[in-house]
Amino acid sequence: MKSIIQIKNFNFFYGESQALHDVTLDFNENQISALIGPSGCGKTTLLRCINRMNDLIDDTRSEGNITIHEKNIYLAEVDPVEVRRKVGMVFQKPNPFPKTIWDNIVWGAKINGYTGNLEELVESTLTRTALWDEVKDKLHTNALFLSGGQQQRLCIARAIAIKPDVILMDEPTSALDPVATARIESLITELKKRYSIVIVTHNMQQAGRISDCTSFLLNGVVVEHGRTKEIFLNPKEKKTEEYISGEFG
């Protein structure tokens, strides 16, 4: 397994309060890596550090390195905009642009300088997100008319349309019903053939079902990191075991 993201001695602060403490983690290529932990443990903060999304929040600061494809994205000369072109993101609440389905996919590609055939791009991304058959006749209707699950798949399609190396997902199914969740999960599993995925989830079964490796965070500290099977069946730390078995969180 080739490692794609290395997080090294990473600290993150919102003003004076420290949200991440000396985080060191490795995520592998073409795998699904899950971040689990109770609310406020810093898992979303960590996820948003991987594409420098937290730069957009005032009064935040970080220490340490995150390396993607052996490039440190926290060097002073790195442009966060370029980082986000390589590291796509899917959010907790489906957030399609209030534009047509077509424009939702094409817009990101256009600002990234895509010069290829747009029709091909739209069809292939929608096909890969299992949405094509459902929306091929209404590509030019507003995306807000889609159901929640369809909207989230459109958001995933929008993210992969710019051909990122990594896709970050922040509880992508927490706003969806079980059927839509199942479809997204099978989609995510399908996507790992081409992309490396880091997913934050509150749902232990989901982490168990789809992820290859799991990191358990507590109060901004990585308590345990390893293969999902091992973490779930034989956790080394007592806290991990308690959390997974539902004793707190």
Partner: protein
Amino acid sequence: MADSTTNFSQKQASLEKKTRIGESLIHVVLFACALCSIFTTVGIVVILASQSALFFADPQVTLLGFFTSFEWQPSIGKFGILPLLNATLLTSFIAVVFATPFAILVAIFLSEFTKPRIKAIIKPILEVLAGIPSVVYGYFAVGTVTPVLQRVFGSDTVEFYNTASAGIVIGILILPILITMIDDSLTSVPNNLREASFGLGATRLQTSFGVVIPGSFSGIAAAFILGFSRAIGETMIVALAAGAGSALTWNPFRGAETMTGYIVRISGGDISYNSIDYNSIFAIGLVLFLATLGLNIISRRIVKKYQWNV
């Protein structure tokens, strides 16, 4: 736990209705205040309508002629509102066309590019603009903008009294409202759309123009219309800068009296009560009232219809 209930002065044993005198009194007072403003509005409409009726009852005036004939010369019995209406629309149009793009840029700057701390400093400064008396703007138009226009386009082309100068200065006058309305509508675009855009590798500028502006298009349209309605009603600037005497012209460098300009000139002069000139200003006032009312309703409809459901 049992002790805590005894601290209440009234025991809560009974569930019967109680009369609360303070509450009822406040209710009556507030209702009276609300009625006052309604009566004022109704009063204005009644006066406007009744005086206008006197105007239209005059044998020299016909309703059709009022709206369709091309001359407004009360002294020779010509009462066609079109020249006045045309001048009003011309100055207002110049105002919004001049002000809206500028307002959009300022609003983008305020809502997308500044930190809240800096915005808190800039916004009050802009709002000072709204506190300047419009007569001051009027002299600014006559004393500064007109000479500049004359120097740029030549004083042969630009008359001393002209609608361009008045329109530009009305544009400056309505800037604060436009900026505030557009800024509010940009700010109301949900943040998760900005994040979606940044997450795709968009820059701040691309996010502003590609996502935030289209997302608040309705708010911008509403601001445009409200600004237009405000410009239609503006009086002092046009009275001072746009010229006296009606003229039907599309040339912004010529003088043309607007509806409000005419009302000011007539009501300031020594026209006798209940003469036809006197009554004519109420008819024009009614047209102004209906125009601004209509525009305000449209503007509110737009805002309501396309509100963000978050």
